[in-house]
Symmetry: C2
Subunit: 152 residues, 2 copies
């Protein structure tokens, strides 16, 4: 968790605090960008997933790590705003696939672009070799995490 860096400012953080603080900075950037467009983090995650997929409710529940009943409400609210729509599946009439609308796609691309700008700003003071090291190491952790998640 980390210890919200107290009153005094230490010159260095240990690895746990450093990663915790970095992750808060990144998530806060995304959260604030989302908020300016009246989106919650969950809505952004939903739209992000739909950028390259049209999953059913149960698939979404697994991807978002939510109960399927929570996803029903989430999709309801996004649909009411015209960001997504439900489509019937040709092969299984129980399934309702969720897809981005044009307006939803525009919104998610806008958030993604603004977020990318914020991340680059966060890296402003670093040398290009530090940025490349960070990219390589973070990328490796993320990809190992991904394959670990696949196993479950």
């Amino acid at each position: 968790m980390s210890h919200d860096a107290g009153s005094e400012s230490p010159a260095e953080l240990d690895i746990v605090d450093a990663l915790a603080q970095l992750s808060f900075a990144v998530q806060n950037a995304l959260g604030r960008r989302a908020a300016t467009l009246d989106l919650s983090m969950t809505q952004v995650r939903l739209l992000g997933i739909l950028r390259d997929r049209t999953p059913g409710i149960v698939d979404l529940a697994r991807l978002l790590e939510l109960d399927k009943s929570s996803v029903t409400g989430l999709v309801d609210r996004a649909a009411k705003r015209g960001l997504v729509r439900r489509e019937s599946s040709p092969d299984d009439r129980r399934v309702s696939r969720v897809a981005l609308t044009e307006s939803g796609r525009e919104l998610v691309e806008a958030v993604a672009a603004e977020f990318a700008t914020d991340v680059h700003k966060l890296l402003d003071g670093l040398s290009s070799s530090d940025v490349e090291d960070l990219r390589r190491i973070a990328s490796r952790i993320a990809l190992e995490e991904l394959s670990a998640g696949m196993a479950s």
Copy 2:
């Protein structure tokens, strides 16, 4: 935002996706640990702040970036569970300072310890020089972010 790494697994991520995924991995670790102890991320952040301070409601609202009325409810629920208590301030009778109880302190230390374990697990496949590079770079970003925040 990042693009929840789609169906195919790329060998490398760009810096934005890498940081986004890393930050999700870290936040999910914290969120899951918190959830096993029936704590929300906000409750964990509240308890984390109280580890070394006894702020008033308005201070907490600023630190958590929430409205003060939201903090009232947050503190109410934590107090009902015996995790925090309100104390009157000697110098300003309007202020009610929020402090951890013993039980709250035990809980937050437990979450912190479990989270630290998770972070180390995340780093398992890395060389020690990669871990040190990551610590140094993340630490620098976090500390610059902190001083930027102070300015506001």
